[in-house]
């Protein structure tokens, strides 16, 4: 598998789009800036939802009111993040796809995406689902903590891609 992944990365790095992204100096920083702004929207939204679930802030709003308002921002941002992230991965396939920090980031993203989907899905059937019983309230709080930790991990892993890169001294 590692060998075939490496072959794929080498192939990808030589395709015309990859060559274009590598050769036009402003593309990577510009795309990264859009990427970071979208992460900001996700982190802002997720932090407010999770702090509400933990009962720390936003108590004047219902859980479903808050998720209805903020989760669409999260999902739209994730689509833009995926597209801009794809440009960055195509530009530097070996640096990203073969990078343990990148792989950890994708794994955490998959976990938090699944978690968020199911959390939201429960609210679709019943807006008060997560407020109905002590057990559900506890589950919602646990979900909030796990979600926050995963998003923090995603931001850290994302930044660490630059430091796990073999072309950077470490």
């Amino acid at each position: 598998m590692p060998q075939s992944l490496h072959t794929f990365c080498n192939w990808l790095a030589n395709t015309p789009p990859s060559q274009l992204f590598q050769n036009v100096a402003w593309i990577i920083p510009a795309v990264q800036s859009v990427h970071i702004f979208c992460i900001s929207l996700v982190m802002g939204s997720v932090a407010l939802i999770d702090l509400r679930l933990l009962g720390i802030t936003g108590r004047s709003q219902s859980i479903s009111g808050m998720t209805n308002r903020l989760l669409p921002i999260v999902w739209v941002s994730i689509v833009i993040l995926f597209l801009t992230g794809a440009v960055l991965a195509i530009a530097e396939p070996i640096r990203s796809l073969e990078n343990p920090a990148f792989q950890a980031k994708m794994l955490m993203l998959l976990l938090v995406g699944t978690l968020t989907f199911f959390f939201q899905d429960m609210l679709r059937g019943d807006v008060a689902f997560w407020e109905m019983s002590p057990a559900r309230r506890a589950t919602a709080k646990l979900t909030a903590v796990v979600s926050l930790l995963l998003w923090v991990g995603i931001v850290f892993a994302g930044r660490w891609i630059a430091y796990m890169d073999t072309s950077y001294g470490g």
């Binding site: 920083p29 510009a30 990264q32 800036s33 970071i36 702004f37 992460i39 900001s40 929207l41 996700v42 982190m43 802002g44 939204s45 932090a47 407010l48 702090l51 802030t57 936003g58 004047s60 709003q61 308002r69 921002i73 923090v152 931001v155 850290f156 994302g158 930044r159 660490w160 630059a162 430091y163 890169d165 950077y168 470490g170």
Partner: protein, 167 residues
């Protein structure tokens, strides 16, 4: 540069040396900086978008800002502290970097915009708390804030590409 001696002193201080020479210090502090700044910009954007009438239209501006701004300020303090630590690693280089200086100017603009909004437009907030659209002055403040902070991100990202090290 009038403060050259000060910047030299900062970068030769134990903190500056540690940030420069410890293998893990810079990436770790930088990751916390990125985390904090995403929360600053993300939370401020929520208020800016409300002022612009794009999102949270049925929420009172005062209630939204009371709930969100404490998060923004805590994260801003973390971002400023970690940013200062990063700065200490190469203080002299940063003060000669166009994008770093631009970022500082943009943050000053964002701060000034916030103060004008707070001391002038905000005084009459009781009259337009639940209005969508908000009055023009409030919309303008929201739009400018969004632009300045997006600018801060763009310039901040370019600092990494122009100062050396890992990007």
């Amino acid at each position: 540069m009038p403060f050259q001696a000060l910047f030299m002193w900062i970068e030769q201080s134990p903190v500056g040396v540690f940030m420069r020479e410890n293998v893990i210090a810079f990436p770790l502090v930088e990751s916390i900086h990125v985390l904090a700044l995403t929360l600053v910009v993300g939370s401020i954007s929520m208020i800016d978008l409300r002022l612009l009438g794009v999102s949270a239209r049925n929420h009172a501006v005062t209630k939204l800002s009371n709930e969100i701004l404490p998060v923004t300020w805590v994260c801003f303090v973390v971002a400023a502290t970690t940013g200062s630590l990063l700065f200490s690693s190469k203080a002299v280089d940063y003060t000669h970097n166009f994008f770093f200086l631009g970022k500082m100017v943009l943050m000053a603009c964002a701060g000034l915009n916030m103060m004008l909004f707070h001391f002038i437009t905000w005084r009459s907030v009781a009259n337009w708390d639940t209005d969508t659209p908000a009055p023009f002055a409030a919309k303008l403040a929201g739009g400018l804030s969004l632009l300045f902070w997006i600018g801060v991100i763009i310039f901040g990202r370019w600092v990494g590409f122009t100062i050396g090290g890992a990007f």
